[in-house]
Symmetry: C2
């Protein structure tokens, strides 16, 4: 790696960029946080410094298991992450929690990665929780989450948990940046499944029925059996991996060790077959392609939005063929 010897002004402190990278590598939370802020910045100069920093650190990224967690609001994602994350920290792992928040670009606020439901975890020395970026376009927010994950890996976090509410395209986007994708559900498979978005079960490597405690325990176990039956008919999300279903209680810490065992087996098996690295390479290429497409569309429509809108209404009124509309738009 080339190491630019220039000095860069990073958040007011003037130090050589490779020294800054070294601080992150050695585990400084302060430097990690500031580097993420640079990556998330709207300012082009700051962004560029962030990218250079990340580039310097790329050789030490990738050494983690990346886990995506999704589920409807109230499924217990935050509670699961609190308990699961604590269990892993106690085992000596270093755990980073990130979020892809489909609503943040609309509300301008962050609803996920909330530290309030992760009180113990947020105080644990082995954990790092980063709320989702509070502004920016959807594409931008997601790009930043992926790059934040890489920074966390460089800082030595070996388990990355990425939370998202299953809304819109956010599950697909998270699926595209993780190794293992986990769907948290509640009891009542039939109803639950019907209320679920299309195709989500076919993205997941495990289905975790949460709140399997007290009166709900029996029903949760029945739900697990129902899910297993349906899973039997579906294509697995990861080739040669059997998607399984588990009953857990995030509140009472029951069954979470089984989930971790499943993840560990997944990791071993996929590394052995070579699919682990292959998928990551594919993900990087897909990400590159998706970002190119996003940018092409953004740049095109920032110039042609009005034209496209006019042509669209002519189309719907049957005045033009689609081919003609496309030709006109490109000629305009």
């Amino acid at each position: 790696m080339h190491q630019p010897k220039r000095f860069k002004k990073i958040s007011g402190i003037e130090i050589p960029i490779h020294e800054y990278a070294e601080e992150i590598r050695s585990g400084s939370r302060l430097h990690l946080s500031k580097a993420i802020t640079l990556i998330e910045s709207m300012n082009r100069d700051r962004q560029e410094v962030g990218q250079e920093l990340l580039q310097l650190l790329l050789p030490v990224t990738g050494r983690s298991i990346r886990i995506g967690i999704t589920g409807v609001p109230g499924a217990g994602k935050s509670t699961f992450i609190e308990t699961f994350g604590m269990m892993l920290c106690e085992k000596g792992h270093r755990v980073a929690v990130l979020a892809v928040d489909p609503s943040s670009s609309i509300s301008g606020g962050s609803i996920l990665g909330d530290k309030t439901r992760m009180q113990d975890l947020s105080r644990h020395p082995n954990a790092f929780i980063r709320p989702s970026p509070s502004a920016g376009t959807l594409g931008g927010v997601h790009r930043k989450t992926r790059e934040t994950m890489l920074l966390c890996e460089a800082a030595g976090y070996d388990v990355i948990l990425i939370e998202t509410v299953g809304v819109g395209q956010s599950e697909t986007i998270v699926r595209g940046m993780v190794d293992y994708f986990l769907l948290l559900v509640l009891t009542g498979a039939g109803d639950e499944l019907q209320s679920m978005k299309k195709g989500i079960m076919e993205l997941t490597d495990a289905i975790v029925v949460n709140k399997a405690d007290g009166d709900n325990e029996k029903l949760a176990k029945k739900t697990v059996r129902e899910y297993k039956q349906i899973l039997h008919f579906l294509q697995p999300a990861t080739p040669k991996w059997t998607t399984s279903a588990f009953a857990v209680s995030s509140l009472k810490n029951i069954g979470l060790d089984h989930v971790w065992k499943d993840i560990s087996e997944f990791q071993n098996q996929m590394k052995e077959s070579g699919y682990f690295d292959e998928r990551r390479k594919l993900q990087t290429k897909d990400w590159f392609r998706a970002m190119i497409t996003d940018r092409l569309i953004d740049e095109f429509f920032s110039q042609k939005r009005k034209n496209a809108y006019d042509l669209e209404s002519q189309l719907v009124q049957g005045e033009l063929t689609v081919s003609q509309a496309v030709d006109k738009l490109f000629k305009s």
Copy 2:
């Protein structure tokens, strides 16, 4: 509609374009065939005449039920279309059969819309069978199928059947141009489903278990029950429509009337709720958007393919961040 009074040279015959359009409207197969050839042409001038012709005819398009039919090779798609098409022709319908052939861009040949398995239908005066275009890019082939469908509607065909083998993205593309999408399967739901591509069941408005004759009849009926059970858990492809499953024999003409009844009910219900027209408008807009994206990507990569390829290998080797690679590509 404006009617350009100029004369256009169409396939050697010089007649006013609106007279040509009139020939198509009045049902001339010869003129319809030649118009499709113009639409499919690689020559820009001919393409443009085809588009003008289609534009003139747009006001009389749309008066059909558009049915997509998919299934693995050997499921019996061609046989189904032969028998089903004949039944509809006998009822007085006019039936056009088109194909989206995912292999044609590779092989340069056409494997679908084969008249050999549709011997009776291909001779029936009420039927029009058009093999899939024999060359061109995948995107181009699909665009042409959609526009061919519109020409057929203008020529008075009130049932459009679009066949595709379930390979790659072709089902999704066909789903995006039809009202009703039908999946033809064989007995043995479990195995069949496991061999199926992701998410396809969630695209379909009906599952038709074919070859329910002779020794296979009982098993076919069992398969129908199994599919119904699974469908219960999935989101329907069309909001407020319950996807159903049927056992038929395309060879012995058993049960095809039930499928037609289902399609008719579907059409009535969707027209009443307004979703029929709404979906078509959405499809037109999606098509517009997809064609814009295709063209943007085509034009971009036709200039930058080599750069993109180089950057991609740098990415995979971890020398650059994805953001940096995208920036470099756009600056190059």
